[in-house]
Homo-oligomer: 224 residues x 2
DNA sequence: TAGATTGTTAATCGATTAACAATC
DNA sequence: TAGATTGTTAATCGATTAACAATC
């Protein structure tokens, strides 16, 4: 069934499916059932079938899903069948760590430029990209058709950087700074601030008080 | 209203409240209403009142919430009125970046030990902590009463590390590796894998304006 | 008193899960 | 055919929002 609007929760699960499917493909597994996926990913099989059915009839009754075909489909849904250029703003420790994380590459996301506001950082190399000054942000974004920005600057600079990204026509932002960014409705922001995750973990340390939930993983995110 | 069971969504919002309240306190604002909080945090005021009311009657009708008092209460709810010791496993780029992020300190979370499986890393200093070999993990956790573990090792080592943490009696895990960890129900895991966030962002890029980029990267490129 | 704002109940909305006919 | 498994509808569960009496 198509044409319903897709909820955020569904979209959030697609990369998780993709990740596991890629593993299957590497191991040359040809098909997989919603049951197996559910087991491995801690999700209800009905939910997985429903998620996928939003986008098309990808499975075969009695058989399951063809791994290669499903990967192709999910990649397409996520716009990953073309390279998506990414800019990183903030060449501090975290920024450097992320730029090395070439995880992205596997899924056609690629950091193609790095910026920093701090003079002495400019011109240095981060993972073989030359750090550029903020003045060049807008033109670089346009020249290289950069669609996604990663913000790893300190809290007090984050909103300002976001504004510049928006102005330059960015499509989406991954924000590591611990604030709620204001952006127009057409620019999606995902919060990647791990201090929030970290702190909420402390709640579950049992100090006598009990919480007998499953040890489910949860992806943690505030967006708007 | 007490004694309902608290949903994960509620707990996830508490650190966000705390963060904003701390900012107010810094600016010496004495009280705040659910309305203002909602506006600043992109949340419904009724939701905020309801969240807080799960834990007690912290506000005053007609007035709002006393900032200092509410901070104290939320800190207490989150177990942050005592120092919580944290161990970091994986002294790679990301691990180093996190160890510098002393954001935690503000909220009584403190990384007190760092481990790595890779021989040459052992003994080096990370943010003035000496990297220890994995063999010492269990005793260190017990000696220092470490409650939370941060996993920043490669994907294929993550489950094994998690097992060791569980065995050593850890209370909760923040997992940066891109897999679903298996842990007993009493050990909570939060997924902090940002590649998932990143990839799901791509879904929201509107492809109305696709100028099929030739993606010529100006900067010196990484090759692979 | 008048205005503001909480705590809480009821209404709404949305997401997950169960169940099963269709069919490979 | 018999067994497996999808796609989908209906049932359930849970979370968000509206509304308002209580009260500062």
């Amino acid at each position: 069934m198509k044409s319903d609007k897709i909820s955020e929760a569904v979209v959030r699960r697609l990369p998780i499916y993709l990740r596991y499917l890629s593993g299957l493909q590497r191991r040359e597994v040809a098909t997989v059932s919603s049951q197996e996926l559910g087991q491995k990913l801690d999700l209800n099989p009905a939910q997985i079938r429903k998620d996928l059915a939003y986008f098309g009839d990808f499975g075969r009754k009695g058989i399951g899903y063809d791994v290669a075909y499903l990967i192709e489909k999910i990649r397409h849904i996520l716009n990953l069948d073309q390279q998506i250029n990414v800019v990183l703003i903030g060449a501090g420790n975290l920024g450097q760590a992320l730029s090395n994380y070439n995880m992205y590459l596997k899924e056609n996301l690629k950091i193609v430029a790095v910026f920093d506001a701090y003079g002495p950082k400019v011109g240095t190399l981060i993972n073989s990209l030359k750090v550029q000054p903020m003045e060049e942000l807008s033109t670089t974004i346009q020249q290289h058709n950069i669609r996604i920005g990663i913000i790893t600057v300190p809290e007090h600079e984050a909103q300002q950087v976001a504004d510049k990204l928006v102005e330059a026509g960015i499509g989406a932002i991954l924000n590591f700074a611990p604030i709620i960014l204001r952006t127009p409705a057409n620019v999606r922001v995902h919060a990647a601030d791990f201090t929030t995750d970290m702190i909420s973990l402390a709640y579950y340390l049992d100090n006598g008080k009990e919480d007998l939930d499953d040890a489910k993983q949860s992806n943690t995110e505030v967006d708007h």
